[in-house]
Symmetry: C3
Subunit: 307 residues, 3 copies
């Protein structure tokens, strides 16, 4: 596999050798950070974070990662209102100019395909940090890293995906990793309106991945991994459509207790009502550890792309 330049789709990351390289690097970076022994391989390099849709957590984790590697950061917290986009500039032009100042660009954009367009125009690496209901590949990388770190492997696991499978881009980006892992079986739990789109269903079928679709939350019980998604208000055309499904599922203590002892609950966060705060104390609640892993996985990725 040739060296990765831009990170736009999860598909690009589904290479065992690449995953091993990145994940070993992430583990080492975590050990070095905790021992206060981090080196600064990206000293003198600059990362630009351009967020056309708000996401403090994703932005912070990339910016912390860059700074821990010794690099500097240019940040556009609210690029939609404050940047040249509001003056009618294309994303291609913006990227061409910003690539003159930064050694890599992290882009979040409400429009599917925006990162792809940016990559075509950019001489420096573009990292897609979410393009509308499209993809969020580095989140998938973190998810896979977390599953392997928590459970030792991806192979053979029973993984339940719960919530908005239609619009949840973290789910869409995770599927290419799951379908390729031998022996994985998926339980897709969603309201009828929020089922996994046909193109992803076909992707699973073509890979001969075992999966079942259901509307019943009780089907989480045999899962090793319960991956919960937020029903995102911003993806619905009307408040009524959102209200009809927003509280479809709720992982509370009762549900958590029904899971296997060695299972884990994941969530890309932020959550609203889909996981009760009371579950946080349960050892199976791995979502805050998952968020923390984001720092090291993104450090590994930035280091890989820029050094």
């Amino acid at each position: 596999m040739s060296k990765l330049r831009h990170v736009i789709r999860a598909e690009q990351l589904v290479d065992p050798a690449l995953l091993d390289e990145l994940f070993n690097s992430a583990s080492k970076l975590e050990r070095d950070d905790k021992a206060l022994k981090l080196e600064h391989p990206l000293r003198g390099r600059i990362l630009a974070t351009m967020f056309y849709e708000p996401s403090t957590r994703t932005r912070f984790s990339f910016e912390a990662a860059m700074q821990k590697l010794g690099g500097g950061v240019l940040t556009a917290e609210n690029a939609l209102d404050n940047s040249s986009a509001s003056k009618g500039e294309t994303i291609a032009d913006t990227v061409r100019v910003v690539s003159g100042y930064a050694d890599a660009i992290v882009l979040r954009h409400p429009q599917v395909g925006a990162a792809e367009m940016a990559a075509e125009a950019s001489p420096v690496p573009i990292i897609n940090a979410g393009d509308g209901a499209g993809e969020h590949p580095t989140q998938a990388l973190i998810d896979v890293y977390t599953i392997r770190k928590e459970l030792g492997r991806l192979e053979g696991l029973n993984i339940a995906l719960v919530g908005d499978l239609k619009n949840g881009r973290t789910i869409h980006s995770l599927l290419p990793f799951l379908r390729n892992a031998p022996g994985v079986s998926l339980t897709l739990i969603s309201p009828p309106q929020l089922r996994l789109p046909g193109k992803y269903v076909r992707m699973l079928q073509e890979a001969d991945t075992r999966f079942a679709e259901t509307t019943r939350l009780a089907r989480v019980q045999p899962a090793d991994v319960v991956y919960v998604t937020r029903v995102q208000r911003e993806r619905f055309a009307s408040e009524a459509e959102y209200d009809a499904v927003k509280d479809s599922y709720r992982i509370d203590l009762h549900v958590a207790d029904s899971l296997k002892a060695r299972s884990i609950i994941l969530h890309a966060l932020p959550r609203t009502t889909e996981i009760s705060p009371e579950v946080d104390q349960d050892a199976r609640a791995a979502y805050f550890r998952q968020a923390r892993n984001g720092l090291y996985v993104r450090m590994a990725l930035l280091n890989y792309l820029m050094s």
Copy 2:
């Protein structure tokens, strides 16, 4: 006194040994900065500033402090609109995630008690940089530092507090320091609608602090310290209520000249009309020196909390 973890209420800082430690550190940091001899004790550490209410000056002073100590910064200039809060996330969840990326968090929030809630959820130090009409403890620290630096002591001073004593959180945070200083006498000058709330009046009474309440600005004359507050539009329910009191008091050259030669005028800034610009040239106008002190006091505090 056990080592301070979070800085939420001014009360936590009212310890003579702690104050001496912080203020000596601030003085040393100022000398080192001016001699371009600053060391970087917080190299590799990261501070997150999360502002759910705008305040460029407070944010800048914390961020400058952190960078001068060698650390990095994650900044959310407008966290209310741009962060997960807009997606319905609780402050506790936000803090749990951000604490995975940052070694301390500075929080400004419009809601009284927000910092307390954040501290309960956070494994890293939370610094309250203002919670609605609640507290702003580091401002009080700066105020006390400034009084001691300018006048050599807090003890025995006559201190006039002028303006909105009802909503002014800098005043509320300053009182715990003042009531404990031997021989301090306070003159509380405000319109009737903006008197010091009962709970603070009782705090003074219980400590046997000498104080007098008045509506007359002329009562500032014998003061050693005249602490002026802005009447904050954002704390009033209607424009009419604000208009009725906004120009209650104005320190102009005439008032300044009526003060003692060795007195000082303080203000946490920003000001609007309550101090005339013509007063700025007067040696008693200490408010810009006070703002500058903020840098060193906050450096001392960050260094204390994180190293």
Copy 3:
């Protein structure tokens, strides 16, 4: 010439010795950057960027410049809404406080004269990064640097200025450099409503600069430099006035092909429709190289002002 303190008007920069010093420094910084040999002369220093009008590109280029020189950055992406300005503070007060935290301040403001006011109040250098329809002197510096780098000289060139010459502050800031260069002749191409204001016409007349005013784009043909400006929506009182002129001129492949082989097309960017994307591949399209030059020219300027 005494050492420059604040950078407010282009006029201040029109000194051959100063230009040589800055441009030589910019060239050296570019070489060192590309060889990964940058030193960090501004280590420990802090730059504040205060943008009361959005401009991600200009802000990024200053912030990248500062960080590449080893310094830190305080950033206010949207100072109008988020800073003390919204509480009624004057720009003079803001600058006095921020100068306590930063070693220099980059200011963009919608109001003509704002930078001048800031400079009067500031003990640290103020750099005007655009004040309404006033000036944008560092852009002019970049433009002159680019012309000299691309064509070897400014002297004797035929320079066409195209578009909104009335409101285009980059044009206004460029004129003091052009009128002083021996043998330069200018072609001023604009719709009748957007002609160069009288005060600038008189400036050219007093300097005996050769210039012609026209509404015909075809007059670009003999130019060595075609400097295109965007018609800025935000400078018009009504949408109708804007619509009447916004598409006055368009540099497409046909126009580009009519130019001399050794000519260059400049634009301060962002562009909307005034230059077709198809022109980007043409060697004469120098606007992205011009943007990149901004990094090094601003590094040279920051280094000059702060070290």
